[in-house]
């Protein structure tokens, strides 16, 4: 039981981190926004992003290395899955890497992109150089008083709860936007349907009238 709870907590932490630390930007149609990360070379660049509003929820991501060569390019559509797209790149060169979000394929709809970029030395998103010193530090830290330790645990749990809330808020927003779009479509098509049917009825009557009037045997009435 204890182990399951622990694993869940760590998992929540990991999921939560991605979204809790992201920044939102609105990208107008026919524009692209670029953000940068500096790397000292031989590190790992993490990019995670999602599109929360705008049309098909699609955006083109382009990651470029300091020499100007493209590291990765993809057009991702978030319509079906609203989970973050998480990518990891090995930075071979030292310098400034650029991460661009491109909305140039859209003519009218702006897109809202939430993203987070970071550079770490290790693949597990830490900067620590793994040595036996770290183990000793871990052991030393166990001398926390039980009260302090329990306060730290509570703080962490609260942070996790808050991160989870932010995640749910984003999902709820996307679903709400879909529903509002559905309502607009229902309104529009109801009116269109009525207009078309009434128009057709009138058209049928007047067309019949014309045919009868065009019959040679009817002329002169």
């Amino acid at each position: 039981m204890m182990e399951r709870v622990s694993v869940l907590r760590v998992l929540l932490l990991v999921i939560g981190i991605a979204l809790a630390f992201s920044v939102s930007v609105q990208i107008e149609p026919r524009t692209k926004h670029c953000y940068y990360e500096k790397s000292q070379g031989n590190e790992w660049l993490f990019v995670d992003f999602t599109v929360t509003r705008g049309g098909l929820l699609d955006v083109r991501l382009k990651v470029t290395d300091p020499r100007g060569a493209s590291v990765h390019e993809e057009l991702h559509i978030f319509q079906e899955h609203t989970e973050n797209r998480e990518l990891m790149f090995h930075t071979a060169f030292e310098g400034t890497y650029s991460i661009c979000f491109d909305n140039e394929m859209s003519r009218f709809t702006a897109k809202v992109v939430r993203f987070h970029t970071s550079v770490h030395r290790n693949q597990d998103k830490t900067d620590k150089v793994k040595t036996s010193k770290d183990k000793k530090e871990l052991l030393k830290a166990e001398h926390l008083k039980p009260v302090e330790q329990s306060i730290q645990e509570t703080q962490q749990t609260l942070k996790n709860i808050h991160d989870e809330q932010l995640y749910m808020r984003t999902r709820e927003q996307v679903h709400r936007d879909t529903q509002e779009s559905t309502f607009r479509r229902v309104y529009f098509f109801s009116f269109l349907e009525s207009a078309v049917l009434l128009g057709m009825a009138a058209f049928q009557i007047f067309q019949l009238k014309r045919w009868f009037e065009n019959q040679p045997s009817m002329r002169g009435f």
């Binding site: 630390f21 926390l144 808050h162």
Partner: protein
């Protein structure tokens, strides 16, 4: 120490350890002269927001530059506009629920364009992460234990604020859903009546037309 307790302690340490190396929400971007970049931040009301920026002129033109920060409120669209030096912090408390638009722009006091390019490191924090606890500790003379408890209370309040916000949004949305439901219902009824009326009109019109033309 029981085995379960020990495992709990080690796990907490690992989790804390992981958290220490997680970065804050920071973005790096470049601003040419007169350019502005905007960021959106959705927060509940009464949340402390901190905008922390550090700009540097990469072309070293030496011209006097400033950073303008403008914050747009969610519903009223009112904009609060301020100018700062290149490295500064700007804090404000959100008065309404909703999405705030925070725009960072470059501002130069010289007449001619100097071709300066600013490299800006920007941090946007909200809630407990935006509070400077060392200042709070000094102001209220709190011991380290009391400070940790205060942090915990602030975090709990943040969770509560978010819940209230969600509840309010759900109520709003419920209204929209029920309104749409009743509108669709009434529209179907009206549409049916319209079609019956139109069918009756068609038949009567045709009948009177044929009677006029002496076909019936």
């Amino acid at each position: 120490m029981k085995k379960g307790e020990r495992r709990g302690i080690v796990l907490s340490i690992v989790v804390l350890y992981l958290l220490c190396v997680v970065p804050v929400r920071s973005v790096l971007f470049y601003l040419n002269e007169g350019e502005t970049k905007c960021f959106l931040e959705e927060v509940p009301e009464h949340t402390l927001m901190l905008v922390n920026f550090n700009a540097e002129d990469v072309r070293n033109t030496g011209s006097p530059l400033g950073i303008t920060v403008s914050v747009q409120e969610p519903n009223s669209g009112a904009v609060n506009y301020q100018t700062f030096g290149l490295v500064n912090k700007y804090a404000f408390t959100s008065e309404h629920n909703g999405e705030y638009k925070i725009c960072i722009g470059s501002n130069s006091s010289s007449w001619f364009g100097t071709g300066a390019r600013l490299e800006v490191h920007l941090d946007i924090e909200s809630g407990a992460a935006a509070t400077d606890y060392s200042a709070v500790a000094k102001a209220d003379h709190l011991s380290s234990m009391e400070l940790e408890i205060k942090k915990m209370v602030d975090l709990a309040e943040e969770v509560m604020n978010e819940q209230n916000y969600q509840r309010g949004r759900e109520v709003e949305f419920e209204d929209v859903v029920f309104t749409t439901n009743s509108r669709v219902h009434w529209w179907s009824v009206i549409q049916t009546i319209l079609f019956i009326v139109s069918a009756v009109w068609q038949i009567r019109y045709l009948r009177s037309y044929f009677q006029k033309k002496k076909l019936i």
